[in-house]
Point group: C2
Chain length 203, copies 2
Amino acid sequence: MPKETFLKLSEEKKQKVLNAAKREFARVPIEQVSIKNIVENAEIARGSFYQYFESKEDLLAYILKENADEIDTKIKNKIYETKGDVFDAYIELYDLMVKKFVENTEQEFFKQIFINLRLSDESLFTLIKSVKPQNIIKYFEMFDKTSLKINVKNDFILICDMLNVITRRAIVKNFKGNSQEECRQNFLKQIDYLKYGIIKKEE
Amino acid sequence: MPKETFLKLSEEKKQKVLNAAKREFARVPIEQVSIKNIVENAEIARGSFYQYFESKEDLLAYILKENADEIDTKIKNKIYETKGDVFDAYIELYDLMVKKFVENTEQEFFKQIFINLRLSDESLFTLIKSVKPQNIIKYFEMFDKTSLKINVKNDFILICDMLNVITRRAIVKNFKGNSQEECRQNFLKQIDYLKYGIIKKEE
DNA sequence: TAATTGTAATGACGCGGTGTCATTTTGTCA
DNA sequence: TGACAAAATGACACCGCGTCATTACAATTA
């Protein structure tokens, strides 16, 4: 979290700093992000940066949190709406994320973030809290499991885990030159495979 | 690729350098790996490092390649053996990788690599070539597709893509304190979901 | 208005790691 | 033994980092 000093700044100055930061974060993966460049872009003194933030990770987490929270709220609502259908909830999540992250003037920034997402969970970059297993399990009771092959809670977690990783991967592909339409079709097909299986039913 | 100078070194010295490197790569994610530490561990001069390798990425790629090639050969054979069953091939891949990377004295090294694997493909770290879509497609003709819901090549790629990402994720979990047995059971269950679907068949 | 006090901004500084390169050492062959 | 190429070495200049003593500013009080 940014320090109080930053939060007290005028809206204008805050934006200037955040824009400078996004520009730098869009340039290279976080390890290569240079605080020197950020303070130069933002026209603040080097020391000021450390008066505002603990580190570049702190700053990035703040920027991401704003975006994640927004999606988070929407997805929570969607889960309530689609009560009974995890798959629809994930498709909605996909659409929300594409809308927010791909169709965006700050595309390059988000591209950098998504492309460099790690397979591991612990990282800073797990953007959307509500789809982390420890959170989604909260919704377990709510989902309609009668039509699904779910016996124990753990089954549900395994399924969410697959949905998670497939959805994230599908988003990443949007940043890799493939057309948005193509990506979505492929994603829907994958969801379908998950729902009904890859092996043909015997007639 | 290492420079010729390195390859010409005595086996003993090469091993000393590689061991020093693995030790350092096991310590922290690659961005934080310090060449200073490597040369100190290996007891060579700083300048020598650059006589041997272009960069730390170059060195890491070399170490990984050795391991990847080994798995690669085995998995190719398995694909021929299990002709007709992509799923079995991936389960074998999983087992091979767990054996090679988890049950290993160099566990910490591989842990660091896997934990920091990126969701994106372009990266250095795509260890096993034969499961990259552009490679697996070569096996397309070989697989028995009659029992699968596959109409076009692209369907096959989408399926491999899911298998890929689920398998990798399952490996990662082995490094996260979960028991090996538990991880394997969960993985097999996920493969089952993929094969037969999550939604119950109507009787 | 001037004095006081607390808060924010500043940039010079020491630190540590980087990649280079001129020099030295080693090894080989006439 | 000398001459030559290949390899090893570590001092060096460079760069970005995080800190911190100092300065600037704003608000409060007399």
